[in-house]
Amino acid sequence: MTADPKTIAAGHIWTFPGGIHPPERKELSNTYPLRELPLATHYSVPIKQHSGEPGDIIVRVGQTVLAGQPLTQVGVGFGLPVHAPTSGTVTAIGPGRIAHPSGLPDIVITITADGKDTFAPPLPIQDVATASRADLLEQLRQAGIAGLGGAGFPTAQKLALQRPLDYLIINGVECEPYISADDRLMREHATTILRGTDLLLDITQCPQALIAIEDNKPEAIAAMQAALTDYPRMQLRVVPTKYPSGGEKQLIQLLTGRQVPSRGLPIDIGLVMHNVGTAYAVARAIDHGEPLLQRVVTVTGEHVAKPGNYWVRLGTPVEHVLQVTRYTAEINQRVIMGGPMMGFTLPDLTVPVVKITNCILVPSTAELAPPQQEMPCIRCGACADVCPAQLLPQQLQWLAKAKDYDGLNQQNLFDCIECGACAYVCPSEIPLVHYYRKAKAEVRNIAREKAKAEVARERFEARNERLEREKAERLERHRKAAEARKQAQAEAVKAGADNPQDAVQAAIARAKARKAAQLKEQQANSETDGESS
């Protein structure tokens, strides 16, 4: 089937290679309506919650802040500000746990809540219809909106690229098991999501939008369908349930039959994709002036007594979330931020909920068995069968173990989306994705080192050149000075003064005479000594 515009418009759903069907377990959390999580006593807000540079901190320790007040500001770069999740006092600014798989610390602003939850006055755009595109983008940037689907790319930055677009795709697929945050949001806030989509269409000057939902969410499909009657520019697309159909590249393939070029962006093929949560946040930011203060987080797993979807303020420690939802921990408990396929485990519960946190999963060993010992690869090829990127995972694994970085590049390691399908099916339980991540980090590291070495080499050469130049200059200066002196002397002699050369000769003669005299005296002394002994 060719990817011509008519076929796309007719609603054809393509397919993508590979993919898996892990147990979905969405019923654990998707039956409860969205609830507000009670406020915590303190919040730790990492200043960097998106991909890009952090802003500059504009609050001091001891300062009182209101909910929604910006804590950082961004300059001309591609950063995003973060905002106070509630009113209270800034009690610390410094390194603290952030939501990152490494568990490494980064700068965190700690706010002790005053419990009043007073909001700073919102600053909505007065007249959306006449507002300029730049104003809208600035509003989104000041609201701190990053892609809520997982990557955390600043939304305004994504929208700022002006290229001809065929479709805006709103991703409500949510293919990862357990997670139902987007599902519940679509069921309960369909109109706001579509309002946000409408705004996104205007900002991107895109003619039409496709809203994609996996067919395992009939309620969300019904809710969105009902709301769609007011929006003729949008169409609903129901995609079959298969992991990872919600991956950006895979969803594009499903809906349009196109492939994002390697190392390219969807915009290169006339598409742009946003998550339903992002669309919701866009609508709230533009219509109501609300900065991104909270998001829907699925709290689930058999070790949580009150699973469900909660509005959680950004910066809320996971500990608070889990206490409210009454978790019980077993020996060697895993607490996973994100879903079971792509999430990462937390080293402790001080980690805060951030813009990209869509799920907190506290599984029992029975439901998600811990990884077994890695066995040798038997080259069964099950991984290649399920790889949605059509890579050869086992080949990559051998190359990664051998640290053959050229080979890894040839086998397109960087086209791996780390979906984990290969590791899911591996009968030898090889943590394949882990090997790829490590290899990717190493390749990036090598590239960084190479770039640094290049700079060092340039600086070294520049310095050597400078030293050479300085030496040459110095010699030249000395030569000139000597010449000048000679000339001055010559002129002095000509003028009738003593030739300094004569004076030198005279001094040498004097020294010789003195030496001769000394010698004679010594000899005389030694003779008298000899007599006395």
Binding site: T15, F16, P17, P22, G103, P177, Q253, V260, P261, S262, R263, G264, A329, N332, R334, V335, I336, G338, P340, M341, M342, G343, F344, T345, P347, D348, L361, P363, L368, A369, P371, M375, P376, C377, I378, R379, C380, G381, A384, D385, P388, A389, Q390, L392, Q394, N412, D415, E418, G420, A423, Y424, V425, C426, P427, S428, E429, P431, V433, H434, R437
Partner: protein, 352 residues
């Protein structure tokens, strides 16, 4: 208590190598049952000997390599190798045949190359070819299907035959292979090959008692039984259809062509498909993941190559059956097949 740090994905399809291998040998049950029904208990003795040898040699290899034997036992690949070799060789071959073959398979073909997952050649088939070349007499002395033989072989006879080469009443293998008509009976493919080389037509060759069924007494049912087991493997998603499909196609197409263009000179389609080691090879041997091609397209070509080579060896080669040689030859081609059948990665200009 502390939290556990683990790497994503945190969920796994619980199908370990051990389970895969267990399914493989469970699906051999119909084939083994058919072998038992037609040829007596010998196959069980061979399997027992092969298993014991495999377990001990594997442990010895792991010990020499300074690793834990339990680690190697756990994946059950040695069991599958041993069982495949045991059902491939004549049911009443002397005990040392299977011991030598299994030891070679495990020690040389598997561990010398670096253990499970590292071997270039299919261990069972490499072991089989070693035995076939070294001990041609023992390796071609297939017993007569029990319905055609003069003598019935009970369990005690089986033990005695495998252990000493004689039944309890003193018959040796050569005598046992004599049919009711007093002539030494060969396997269907062997008989066919000999007759065709004597310029008999296939119809004349098929007139022998061994061909009382369509494709050889007993052999046909053994093949059908392995086919059933193999279909179960496909149904259970242990193997994909590509290798067996390719193999059967690679064997069937040239045999149809040759019977169309040169009728009366070659083995027919039904004998090709339902005799010898065709089904065992197609579903159980060629599908060994370690030594097969990895992509589905590659697997198809790999199967086609084995099928075609089997056809060539059976038709023009010196041996009656050629599955083992074909598998080994195709094993050698795997790196090339893999290189040229690599799928185009997402975003590299492929079409969806």
């Amino acid at each position: 208590m502390s939290f556990t740090i683990a790497t994503s994905p945190h969920t796994h399809q619980r199908r370990t190598t051990q389970q895969v291998m267990r399914w493989v040998y469970l699906c051999m049950v119909p084939g083994v049952a058919a072998l038992t029904y037609f040829f007596g208990w010998g196959v069980w003795l061979q399997m027992l000997l092969a298993l014991i040898t495999a377990i001990f040699t594997e442990a010895a290899c792991m010990w020499l390599r300074g690793r834990s034997a339990r680690f190697a036992w756990r994946d059950h690949t040695a069991i599958v190798t041993a069982l495949l070799l045991a059902v491939s060789i004549p049911a009443y071959a002397p005990w040392w045949i299977i011991v030598i073959g299994t030891s070679f398979s495990i020690v040389v073909v598997k561990h010398v190359y670096g253990g499970v997952g590292q071997n270039l050649f299919n261990p069972a088939m490499a072991g089989y070819v070693l035995l076939l070349i070294s001990f041609p007499v023992q390796m071609t002395s297939w017993p007569v299907p029990q319905s055609l033989g003069q003598y019935t072989i009970n369990f005690a006879d089986s033990v005695s035959l495998v252990g000493s080469g004689y039944t309890q009443s003193g018959y040796n293998m050569e005598q046992l292979r004599t049919g009711i008509d007093g002539a030494t009976m060969a396997t269907p493919l062997d008989s066919m090959k000999t007759d065709l080389s004597r310029s008999l037509t296939p119809t004349e060759a098929l007139a022998k008692p061994i061909f009382n069924d369509i494709a050889g007494v007993g052999w046909m049912w053994v093949n059908i039984a392995f086919l059933l087991g193999g279909l179960a493997l496909i149904y259970l998603k242990i193997i994909s259809w590509h290798i067996p499909g390719g193999l059967l196609l690679g064997l069937a197409v040239p045999s149809i062509l040759i019977s169309l263009f040169a009728p009366g000179q070659a083995i027919g389609l039904s004998v090709h498909l339902l005799s010898g080691a065709t089904m065992l090879g197609a579903f159980f041997i060629a599908t060994d993941p370690v030594t097969a091609a990895t992509s589905n397209r590659g697997r198809l070509y790999f199967g086609l190559l084995i099928g075609f080579l089997t056809f060539v060896i059976r038709t023009w080669g010196g041996y009656p059956d050629g599955v083992a040689f074909a598998v080994l030859l195709a094993n050698m081609c795997v790196p090339v097949i893999d290189k040229y059948t690599q799928p185009i990665a997402y975003g590299h200009g492929g079409r969806s």
